[in-house]
């Protein structure tokens, strides 16, 4: 407490003790709720990943150690057979898809979001309308945008093929979402379209915090605008960008809905979340899917820790106060 209440030391102590006690009671319901929906289910998922539980008999699973992750058996012929997720090509394909998708989509969204933010940062006529228009993709539910784009990318009647044919960029109609080569492109396009507004908003907020007189000074000194951008704007924007990138990255690493709806069952786009749910629910390999979920969780946890540590990102906002 910066200033002390009127009465002496002992009552100040009891006051802060009373506040701390009240704080515990205020925090308890929230912590219990979070334990029930987050910590406990997570622990159970990890537990399931070490058993042979199936969807139909959730409580009959036996402890089988790391067999869902990796195990090997030596055949009498001397050949060794590896089993488990870590020896499953479908899993590594999903890992590769997830990483590829996350890196490319977040990189594109950052660059495009920055461009949109720089445009919105200018003063021009109709500024408010442009900002409103930019927010629209963000406001549309992911599933709805997946369906809208699915229709626009339709091979026979889609408008994208029509436009591209008319301007001569392609010669025949392309089945964007069904083709192995283009499915990932389609997913990336929709994701970038959908989430660039979010990036742009965070970048814009960062831009608005940069004091104007820095630009005035640069202008007086006659520094080229592009140089100003790289020497002044970008370094000052870095903290905001770092936070925006990590939140987008986390979202991208766990992507499920867009891929499930836009390119169902495509090997080229199946991500870790998609393949884990498939095993958990559809294929009745509950424990196997749990192992894959656990691996995704571990990957994200490692990534976040490394990012915060290496990038010295202040997420809690406690230090900036």
């Amino acid at each position: 407490m910066p200033s002390s209440p009127p009465s002496g030391m002992s009552s100040r102590h009891s006051l802060s003790a009373q506040r701390r006690r009240a704080a515990m009671w205020f925090l308890a319901p929230m912590l219990i709720a979070l334990f029930c929906v987050a910590a406990w289910p997570l622990l159970r998922t990890i537990y399931f990943s070490f058993t042979n539980t199936t969807l139909t008999s959730l409580y009959d699973g036996k402890w089988i150690g790391f067999d869902n992750y990796l195990s090997y058996r030596k055949l009498s012929s001397g050949r060794v057979i590896w089993r488990g997720t870590l020896a499953d090509p479908a899993w590594w394909n999903a890992v590769w898809n997830t990483v590829r998708f996350s890196v490319v989509s977040v990189a594109l969204e950052t660059v495009l979001g920055l461009i949109v933010a720089l445009v919105l940062h200018q003063n021009f006529k109709g500024h408010g309308w442009v900002r409103a228009a930019v927010l629209i993709p963000w406001a549309i539910p992911t599933i709805v945008s997946a369906r809208m784009w699915g229709w626009m990318l339709n091979d026979q009647f889609g408008i994208i093929n029509d436009i591209l044919l008319n301007i001569g960029l392609i010669e025949t109609k392309i089945a964007w979402t069904a083709n192995i080569e283009t499915a990932m492109l389609a997913v990336l396009a929709v994701d970038v379209w959908k989430t660039t507004p979010f990036m742009a908003l965070l970048c814009l907020a960062g831009l608005q915090m940069i004091p104007k007189d820095i630009y005035e000074a640069a202008k007086v000194d006659g520094v080229h605008p592009i140089r100003v951008f790289f020497k002044v704007t970008l370094p000052l924007l870095r903290p905001a960008l770092m936070v925006a990138v990590i939140f987008r990255m986390l979202d991208a690493l766990r992507i499920f809905d867009l891929i499930y709806v836009l390119t169902p069952n495509s090997k080229a786009t199946k991500t870790m979340s998609v393949i884990a749910r498939e095993n958990l629910i559809d294929f009745d390999k509950f424990a196997y899917g749990s192992a894959q979920s656990t691996l995704l969780f571990a990957l994200i946890a490692i990534f976040v820790s490394a990012y915060i540590w290496l990038g010295k990102v202040d997420l809690s906002g406690e230090h900036s106060k």
Binding site: P2, P5, S16, R19, R20, A22, A23, F26, L27, P29, M30, A33, L34, V37, A38, P41, L42, R44, T45, V119, W129, V130, A133, I136, P137, A139, I140, P141, T142, I143, V144, S145, A146, R147, M148, W151, N154, I159, W193, P197, F198, L201, L202, L204, A244, F247, D251, L253, R254, D257, Y260, A276, R277, S293, T294, F297, V304, S316, E318, K321
Partner: protein, 275 residues
């Protein structure tokens, strides 16, 4: 001359940004007014207003049930999260105690959980509670992302409220509960509206849990209903009806976002959390 060129390029860029942002929704609106073979002709403008797709959607009992389910689930989730978050964020923002920073990081960590990591455990919990295939399954599971988000944003907001008003209340002998309900709550309406709206949108859009924890058509939420809407076969997706349904569930969201856009931008940047 170069100034003129710069201005032209700038407005061209603005035009492209607006065009790309708005076109897919515009095209969905165009499609939603088409039926039969008209669907298979590419048009860039509305040629004729045919409301039969909309009538079709609005008179479908299952779809209207999904809308009701979504409204009920999103509203309950947000109400529940708000109730827990207001008191918790007071403790986190205004009371100094050991481990506060760590607790905040933990809460933030929960909002970063990949949903799939808790899916198996939640599935078991929901089965054990006997709420599988009921709205309660979603109300329970959505707490995992609405609660950390509301706590986080409300904490940042409360931290910025001036100390003086609270001190005055303490000198008058107000208990922490009175401080929250009488002093802070009236000041927090803007923050509550913003976080409530963002949490509502998050719950409204959620797909993975809703897909996994429902089985019958009448229990589906809007995203699941739209994702699983199909015709007799994969090649007979009723695009006109689908786009009409999409427009119906998107228009209220776009309206809300545009009305509250300043507040939403403030809330997103305060939380820095996903929208």
């Amino acid at each position: 001359m170069s100034k003129f060129l710069n201005a032209t390029l700038f407005y061209a860029l603005v035009f492209v940004i607006v065009g790309v942002s708005v076109f897919p929704f515009y095209y969905a609106v165009i499609t939603s007014f088409k039926t039969g073979t008209a669907l298979f002709e590419v048009d860039y403008f509305i040629t004729k207003l045919d409301f039969s797709n909309y009538i079709n959607v609005l008179s479908s009992p299952n779809f209207m049930r999904s809308v009701w389910n979504s409204v009920l689930i999103a509203a309950s989730t947000v109400g529940f999260a708000m109730f827990l978050a207001v008191t918790a964020s007071y403790a986190l923002a205004r009371v100094r105690f050991k481990g506060r920073g760590l607790l905040l990081i933990c809460i933030l960590a929960v909002s970063m959980f990949p949903q799939i990591a808790v899916l198996a455990g939640l599935f078991e919990l929901i089965r054990a509670l006997g709420i599988y295939n009921t709205p309660w399954a979603m109300i329970l599971s959505y707490t995992i992302f609405t609660l950390p988000f509301t706590v986080w944003v409300l904490t940042t907001f409360m931290r910025d409220l001036p100390v003086e008003i609270e001190e005055a209340a303490i000198i008058d002998g107000a208990t922490p509960w009175v401080i929250i309900t009488q002093v802070f709550l009236p000041l927090m309406w803007p923050a509550l509206v913003t976080t409530g709206l963002l949490a509502f949108i998050g719950a409204w859009n959620e797909f993975l849990f809703a897909l996994t924890f429902t089985a019958s058509e009448s229990q589906r939420t809007v995203p699941v209903a739209i994702a699983l809407l199909s015709g007799a076969s994969e090649f007979e997706i009723p695009w006109g009806v689908l786009m009409a349904a999409s427009v119906i569930v998107t228009v209220p969201l776009i309206a809300l976002v545009l009305i509250f856009q300043r507040k939403i931008v403030a809330g997103l940047t305060a939380g820095g959390v996903k929208g």
